[in-house]
């Protein structure tokens, strides 16, 4: 169903755009509504948000929400309202205005409107706060956001600004300063996010952050940053490494978030591996967790666990770098060899079935895997007589066992990223892309598509096996229940959210989807519900993910006839056998 449906789709899109334009004409407030909305938002943030203090598990929501003033969630609505006021006033006073500014303002406005509403809904739905106990603050703030949004929409009819370009080089020093400041800000925001304990406040923080990031992206700041970063890659990576190495010291002996970060590192590893299969080679693998599980069981069986049926020990480094990845990759190839000639969607089902088979087998092979009980009391890895769980001391600084895992994962991720970038630039990496785009053409160019797809499967499984092996030691136990289908979907969601095919995006996706559920534990009931809807919404509105690869962005936002036709072809996985 190529051309006619595409044309029909475009006509519909045109009709919708026209209808939107008409609507815009009708509800068109003067631009002054934007800073006015900001002022209302500031007022709303200072009003009281609840009539009496709210406690979550006995801990009061921070920021004395029952008084006038700020603090807690109101800090973040105030921040957004200030951004609306300042940026709105700047645009109002500017000599020439464009639609891009309107869009940026609209995003800030939506953020300001959504923040208090989501916060209120969450309190009402999950913390059993009656609607009557909410103060006027959230509603006034939301009204301000709405006002700003409506005002910003008037600008959308103007000409859009020219597409943003990476910032040109002014001087060495400016470039360096930009890189350093950007990284410090990002790191600071991360630490701040960890610092916020109160779930209501975190929600506000997260929404404000999202709105501000969306705004910065609209006005081209991220695109601009690409310039200085590209010119100072070495410095950027070195600084990032230093900041990450320093991260455990910012936690003042509290190891919980270090452990969560280590867990995030595991997900990053696994997601990077899945990204090779789904992102680079375009093969949807829904049983990916099986390879993770296999790696974990290999490490558990050879890791000197207390409660195990197998007493066979191998050195940890050998297991992590060789045995677990190799075993997982062998299974990957075993699964891939017969099935890779299947069409894309059949492959998805077969891999799903394979994932279930592995889980059920682990569950039933009592003599080796101890069945549903799993293998537990897996000790910390010992390297050359030193147990990683003990930690170590450097220049008077205690480094805890959790931090050691964190560092280990940092190293593994760095290694993996280096490998992946080298792979993507190699013959194999190009062949993956070629196979993804058009298998027949790739085969005609002399690529052995079966071998290439097998390599993708094997490589993906390799990194999953590696991550699984560390996971077994980090959690000190493995059981079949940990490696179920939702886990596969979670990793897939990380890849899709971050940006299919783009390693930095995948890293970001994995970090967000590890920390968010951890931060919003109070609402863990609806975690998978949110994941489900998030997958639908991302595919609908931002299929390229948060940080898309350049190629995919071009494909998904191609304009004009030729580009549309081209992207049709490029993507049709069906054109395989």
């Amino acid at each position: 169903m190529a051309a006619p449906t595409a044309v029909a789709g475009r006509n519909r899109a045109d009709a919708r755009a026209e209808a939107m334009a008409r609507l815009r004409q009708r509800v068109r407030l003067p631009l002054v509504a934007v800073p006015a909305g900001g002022l209302v938002g500031i007022l709303g943030s200072y009003l009281y948000w609840t009539l009496s203090p709210v406690r979550v598990e006995g801990v009061p929501l921070t920021g004395r929400l029952a008084d006038y003033g700020i603090g807690g969630v109101r800090t973040w609505s105030l921040l957004l309202a200030l951004a609306v006021l300042v940026y709105g006033a700047l645009v109002l006073r500017a000599r020439s205005r464009n639609a891009t500014q309107g869009e940026a303002l609209a995003r800030l406005g939506i953020g300001l409107a959504v923040l208090p509403v989501v916060w209120a809904l969450t309190l009402v739905m999950f913390l059993d706060v009656e609607v009557g106990r909410l103060g006027p603050g959230p509603w006034v703030t939301a009204a301000g956001g709405l006002l700003a949004w409506l005002g910003a929409r008037g600008l959308l009819a103007a000409e859009p600004a020219p597409a943003a370009e990476p910032w040109a080089r002014r001087s060495m020093l400016v470039d360096l300063a930009v890189v350093v400041v950007a990284e410090l800000v990002a790191f600071g925001v991360f630490l701040l996010g960890i610092e916020i304990d109160d779930p209501g406040e975190f929600l506000g923080f997260f929404i404000a952050l999202t709105a501000i990031a969306a705004t910065l992206s609209t006005i081209g700041v991220f695109k601009g940053l690409a310039g200085p970063f590209a010119r100072n890659e070495g410095v950027a990576i070195a600084l990032l490494a230093v900041l990450l190495l320093l991260f455990p010291f910012t936690q003042e002996g509290n190891t919980f978030w270090i452990q969560v970060t280590a867990q995030a590192g595991l997900f990053v590893l696994a997601a990077l591996g899945l990204n090779i299969v789904v992102g680079s080679a375009g093969l949807l693998d829904l049983g990916y967790v099986a390879f993770f599980g296999i790696g974990a069981y290999v490490a558990a069986l050879t890791g000197n666990a207390l409660l195990t049926n197998v007493n066979f020990h191998l050195p940890f480094l050998l297991v992590v770098f060789i045995v677990a990845p190799v075993v997982a990759a062998i299974f990957g190839v075993l699964l891939g060899a017969p099935t890779l000639r299947l069409r894309g969607d059949y492959l998805a089902i077969v891999t799903l079935g394979f994932g279930e088979i592995v889980r059920i087998t682990l569950n039933n092979l009592d003599p080796i895997t101890r069945g549903p009980n799993g293998i537990s009391s897996i000790p910390d890895p010992v390297v050359g007589g030193w147990s990683m769980g003990e930690g170590f001391t450097v220049a008077g600084f205690e480094i805890s066992g959790n931090s050691v895992y964190f560092y280990l994962l940092l190293a593994l991720i760095a290694l993996t990223l280096a490998t992946i970038y080298r792979l993507n630039d190699s013959r194999i990496g190009r062949a993956w892309v070629a196979v993804r785009e058009d298998e027949v053409a790739a085969a005609a160019m002399g690529i052995n598509t079966t071998i290439i797809k097998l390599l993708a499967f094997g490589a993906g499984a390799w990194f999953a096996g590696m991550a699984g092996a560390v996971n077994a030691h980090l959690l000190t136990q493995v059981s079949p229940d940990s490696y179920t289908f939702p886990f596969s979907v979670l990793i897939l969601a990380m890849v899709v959210l971050g940006g299919l095919g783009n390693p930095p995006g995948v890293v970001l996706g994995a970090i967000i989807l590890t920390f968010l559920p951890e931060k919003l534990r109070e609402f863990s009931d609806i975690r998978f519900l949110v994941f489900g809807f998030a997958l639908i919404l991302i595919m609908r509105f931002r299929p390229e993910g948060l940080l898309p690869s350049a190629r995919r962005r071009r494909e998904l936002h191609a304009t004009g006839e030729t580009a549309a036709a081209e992207s049709q072809q490029l993507f049709d996985v069906r054109s395989g056998t």
């Binding site: 449906t5 829904l286 089902i349 079935g353 279930e356 059920i360 009931d525 998904l556």
Partner: protein, 300 residues
């Protein structure tokens, strides 16, 4: 021998509700080449709608179990409400992506499956809920095996619906339009067929069948839970592939075969390997005969 007949009867009964789910998979795949992952969830929702209707009837009209009125109303409600879910899925999740890369609707379908499961889990119940015996609880003996009347009813209903569906697709104008759309949507559109409407109709019919299947499965298993649709859906998909996806007779044949194979596999290899068995069949079929037993013949 008794044992054999007993297992056969069990397998055929299981096959009857697999068949009702598989029909939806196969029709949707036949028309838009999409594996509707959320279809198993429609089946699960059918069971929950049945349970909800029954509970409503108990409070409003004092229904007891084994009431035929209740059975008919419950089946009707499931038939009428599940298409709403199917059509909303199509309208809001799949239709906007019809021209998107192939991976996109697949991931959306996965998300929809998750979302529907969790909607039930969060807003209805996470537990195992008992499903009432709506059908008279009588049984009889054949060849030393104990056969429940419910089982006969299930198989008969599944076959009846299949024949009705086949007749509908073969003889009516709408059926013809469906076949045309499955063959080539663009040409069908040029011939004046409202392709969007036909696709929606496919989802309506598929969902209604799955909804009925859900009620039947609820009665057969005696309990329902929010994740029952996942495995059942996978198995129905296996059945559809086994018979030849896109092929209605194939889906039903595949479902009964899979039901029987699975029951015997469980009986002789041990119940804990039952699911491995089903997925093993899927992989073997896809590897050695990806077009299925009856071949990929689109609709009818």
């Amino acid at each position: 021998m008794d044992e054999f007949v007993q297992q056969l009867a069990n397998g055929v009964t299981k096959g009857s509700y697999y068949a009702l789910i598989a029909l939806g998979y196969t029709m949707v795949y036949g028309i838009i080449q999409l594996i509707n992952f959320a279809h198993g969830e429609v089946f699960m929702l059918g069971a929950f709608i049945g349970l909800w209707t029954f509970n409503l009837g108990v409070t409003a009209f004092g229904w007891g179990s084994t009431s035929l009125v209740a059975l008919v109303v419950v089946l009707l409600m499931a038939t009428l409400l599940t298409p709403l879910i199917g059509v909303s899925l199509e309208r809001f999740a799949y239709r906007p992506l019809r021209n998107a890369p192939r991976l996109a609707p697949l991931i959306t379908a996965l998300g929809a499956s998750f979302a529907l499961q969790q909607l039930v889990a969060v807003f209805y119940s996470r537990g195992q809920l008992a499903f009432p015996d709506l059908f008279p609880n009588t049984s009889f003996q054949i060849g030393g095996a104990n056969i429940q009347l419910l089982w006969v009813f299930m198989v008969a209903l599944a076959l009846l619906l299949t024949f009705t569906l086949t007749a509908f697709i073969r003889t009516t104008r709408l059926g013809k339009a469906m076949r045309a759309t499955a063959e080539d949507p663009d040409t069908a559109r040029l011939m004046g067929i409202n392709v969007d409407m036909i696709i929606a109709l496919t989802f309506i019919i598929g969902s209604a069948l799955a909804g009925i299947g859900g009620v039947l499965a609820g009665m057969y298993l005696g309990q329902v839970n929010f994740f029952m649709g996942f495995i059942a859906g996978l198995k129905a998909f296996t059945a559809a592939v086994l018979g030849g996806i896109g092929n209605i007779a194939g889906a039903v044949l595949g479902a009964f075969l899979l039901g029987i194979l699975e029951t015997f596999g469980a009986a002789y290899l041990g119940g804990e390997w039952q699911d491995v068995f089903a997925f093993g069949v899927l992989i073997l079929v896809l590897v050695f005969r990806p077009t299925g037993l009856l071949g990929e013949r689109v609709a009818a």
